[in-house]
Symmetry: C2
Subunit: 600 residues, 2 copies
């Protein structure tokens, strides 16, 4: 069986044909890099993912973490895998050489990390959460906090978490109740309960640094009264050695549908009134700090969804090639040998849909990662701001679209394997179960739809949307050079125009105070907007495929034909379906909004 | 928490307002029944389902059957539940009084059984499979076979299975390899391996009667060479007592994504060359016998999918009413109390979609069951044939549509519960996992789409489709009496017309020999056709709701408003989405069909 993590030809296409990763090496920060260093890193990631992550993916699922004497126990395969990941430098791939990093573009770091996400969602999460926590301290912590907590995280000795959710405050962070009282010595004492804290306990590191949202006594109500604290599992002495155990306890583990390799914990802070925390940044600014890390976290979640979809697609593709079953509808001779199921039109449909979803979303995730590089390394502040504006707009799509459609891809992979796909002897059902988390966490997709329509589309007077429109139009203009692409370009242009008019109408409603009504059908808007974005990314891929075909390398012909066919599928089969959703929005159809509790 | 299995007001609406179950009591076979006997049976089903089936649904999932010394072990709660089901007479509800049955309409039997399917998919399957096996013997067995095997099944002493699938022949039954050699004494010796045999072993009954497809030595190749055999686990002596163990062995159990309460077995027939089987009916007619039981089995699968969807809908509805979280978009005061999530527009959407899917599919499943009664109890043969023709046409929809859309309902239920829905502490994730089997077994939905377009739509020169068209048109005509329903009727009329023209076009292609191409996009046809059927059933419900509102019973007003709103959702939000699918069919878009293996 050939590649099961990522199609390497497709990865090279993305990096070097579509996203021009080599151009990044012109920037001072990445000047020591070149295609060889990129490929070497990818090769290392691939090897570790194949050898140390993939083999225990099912075992993670079958042996979920256990709560033993107040601590979480994992299967023994997790630590060597994570250690190899750290050893190879992937935790700090984007950090500067001075910090001990590889000073790699985010684009490449993401491309490397994607291998681990594809191989083992559960085990790879420990690293991802640590990166998120470390970045928070790096951006907003004091020098002392960086020395005491960030450096050991960079060194791989401490791991991290993000502790936001509480039992009565899942999506509504403004309602958290965890309290932080000043202790008089500059530290704080926290008291409260958090749930669904991923990687909240495990034996993989010497210490765990919880980044905790809590409220100070003088906090104003709502989101403007939330502060951010460092709460280490073990206190850290001035010399960096570990001190006593802090008063944060593992209350229990959640037993999940999937993604079982990562502990999901309930944590109690301050059961003995002695939970020491350290304020990060300014009081009451905690949520805004979290939000500044949101783009990164949501790209990570989106890419996680993509990679589970990708793993399922590749597995079901191999299966469809190898499994003989039945004959074509016009094959009347029952003595003829059975055909491989990839020959059946409906199986081709299910494979092509998966390809369109996962390769479209993979491209978007990498595009967003490159945009993230732009926000940090473009020459002028104006350029960097412009990149950030676009990234802000795209982020809800980067998170939500793959978690909806690559989940759908996983469902199709199960269907292709049929009865076998429904058994735990094959991996595809686990991919589905693992992926089912992604539409929920890091802001549900319902919340993403509100973020898109109520915040991102309206910000700066719609500047980001104008920017994206310009980019899509320029893509269409370049596509117009290829008459073969007319049938792909036109559906995108039509959807783009329709979204423009619907957006104007909805913004008009909001401007007139009909906020609840204008946002009521935001889920439909998210779907249509997401399809426009993915449609645009497929048109970009199609242009590159045309150029590749024109280059005339015979070995690549089939690859480019596949790209064009997947683009054709997405732009002709999927994109036009959104006009109906937009019609519902345009008609201000309030069927759902008007539904009453008592009518159910 | 209120009702969790079936909304009883809705069940009464279906039986007595939409489907006029009382009219059935005018037929001689059901003359001893009346609304009171119907309601008493439903009450008993509900009580047993709530008290004995629902409580161990999660335990079934967490403690899947174990393979111990060549046999399957179940948790102890299954047998008392199944015994109570048998004791109450539900296994034989539709059988005649002479046979010891209740002589109930299929409609009512299905309505009763739905409670068990909602409460516990795993445990209820043992009964369902036994019914299927018993019906096969009843229809095609000899008198002696009926006495020896059917009567003990009716008595609840023997259970049954359907043993079709083989490792290399899942969907392609013409390729089965299990052999049956005449032993010279009128019996046969079987040899072969079957997989995915549900309820293939368990300790719930004295004996298990396997209905096995196998090939005789002189069998012609293909589907016309398949014969049907009775293969009992224990041989049965002439006096009805159990003889020696037959040579059919449990090779192992499959470990499934869900539906874990039902054993899924690998069975070996004739490992010791001594597996005794008894031919049912004529040689080589086995598959046609199976096909004659298909409508029943597929209604059962469809209703199973509906009921898992229904259980998830009711659970998430209760949760949404009780879970406070966040505030409405225009609610700027963070000190105001949180609202129940049922107040959020997107949660309403997810609830209303679930209601539309499950109550629409529930109605169709019951409609099909009533049609099944018509095939057996209408006055004239012509009427009975006409009912059967319609049922044949609808069967692929009855099986496939709920298994696609009530599965989608389960996905929405998880989303409403958010992080909690993703944990195994709540039941909704299990409903999804259980339901994921339904698009696969009893003919994959891809196969249903081919059955619909290649067989059912074309049979008798399209007579069934004409019949259904007439019924839909008559429904629209009655709806036209209510101007309030115009906005619901028009989308159905439009879809109906579009399906008509697309069907003609595709049949034309088939007539010209382009069979593979005409059937290539059958999945889209199935979706659109299914939406037309469910849309029609919702318009029927809407008419009854209008009539109910006009009757002016205040206590029912909210119920009927809910019906109208769900109908509005389905006919305005869902039905029009199918025109795009039909456009793809109409344009003969062969994007998927043309995709090549090497391009993936």
């Amino acid at each position: 069986m050939s590649e099961l993590l990522i199609d390497q030809r497709n990865l090279a296409f993305e990096l070097y044909e579509v996203l021009d990763a080599e151009a990044l090496t012109q920037r001072p920060r990445f000047a020591d890099h070149n295609r060889e260093t990129f490929d070497a890193a990818i090769g290392t990631a691939r090897t570790i993912a194949e050898k140390l992550f993939a083999p225990h993916n099912r075992k993670n699922d079958e042996n979920e973490p256990k709560y033993v004497n107040g601590a979480a126990e994992l299967i023994p395969e997790v630590k060597p895998a994570v250690d190899a990941f750290l050893e190879a430098g992937f935790l700090n791939a984007t950090r500067s050489f001075e910090q001990g990093g590889m000073q790699m573009p985010n684009l490449l770091s993401q491309a490397c990390f994607a291998h681990f996400q594809s191989a083992n969602a559960g085990t790879s999460s420990y690293a991802m959460l640590t990166m998120g926590a470390a970045n928070l301290i790096e951006s907003f912590g004091t020098e002392e906090q960086k020395e005491r907590y960030l450096q050991p995280m960079i060194d791989g000795r401490f791991f991290g978490t993000m502790a936001l959710t509480e039992p009565h405050a899942g999506s509504s962070l403004s309602d958290i109740r965890t309290k932080a009282e000043p202790a008089g010595d500059g530290t704080y004492r926290l008291k409260g309960n958090k749930i669904f804290i991923s990687a909240g306990d495990h034996p993989l590191s010497e210490n765990i640094v919880h980044m905790v949202l809590a409220k100070l006594p003088d906090a104003p109500p709502g989101v403007k009264g939330i502060s951010l604290f460092i709460v280490p599992k073990f206190l850290v002495n001035d010399d960096g050695s570990l001190g006593e155990r802090n008063d944060v306890t593992l209350a229990g583990l959640f037993h999940k549908m999937g993604w079982r390799g990562t502990t999901s914990t309930a944590l109690n802070f301050g059961d003995k009134d002695n939970c020491v925390g350290y304020l990060v940044g300014k009081p009451h600014h905690g949520l805004s700090y979290m939000f500044q890390m949101m783009n990164e976290a949501r790209i990570g979640v989106g890419m996680g969804a993509v990679m589970l979809g990708y793993a399922g697609y590749l597995y079901s593709l191999n299966y469809a090639r190898e499994r003989p079953q039945g004959r074509l509808p016009d094959g009347k001779n029952p003595s003829a040998p059975q055909v491989s199921i990839i020959e059946h039109a409906d199986v081709k449909r299910m494979l092509l849909a998966q390809k369109a979803y996962v390769e479209g979303a993979f491209d978007l995730g990498l595009y967003a990662s490159r945009l993230f590089d732009d926000t940090e390394t473009l020459d002028t502040e104006e350029e960097r701001k412009s990149a950030l504006q676009l990234l802000d707009l795209l982020t809800p799509i980067v998170k939500a679209w793959p978690s909806d459609y690559c989940l759908k891809a996983n469902e199709l992979a199960i269907q292709i394997l049929g009865g076998h796909g429904y058994t735990r002897e094959y991996p595809v059902e686990q991919f589905y179960r693992d992926n089912r988390l992604n539409p929920i966490h890091e802001g549900t997709n319902g919340i993403q739809s509100l973020d898109l329509l109520a915040r991102k589309v309206t910000m700066n007077g719609g500047a980001a949307l104008k920017q994206l429109s310009g980019i899509i139009q320029s893509c269409c203009k370049r596509a117009a050079d290829y008459s073969e692409l007319n049938e792909l370009r036109e559906p995108l242009e039509k959807l783009h125009a329709h979204i423009g008019s619907v957006t104007m109408a909805l913004l008009g409603d909001m401007g007139q105070g009909r906020v609840n009504e204008a946002l009521a059908n935001s889920a439909l808007y998210l779907k249509a907007f997401g399809h426009m974005v993915i449609g645009w990314r497929w048109l970009e891929q199609a242009i590159k495929a045309q150029q590749g075909l024109a280059a005339g390398n015979q070995a690549d012909t089939a690859f480019y034909q596949g790209k064009l066919q997947a683009a054709r599928y997405f732009l002709r089969w999927e994109v036009p379906s959104c006009h109906h959703d937009l019609n519902v929005l345009e008609n201000r159809d309030l069927t759902c909004f008007d539904m009453q509790d008592s009518w159910f």
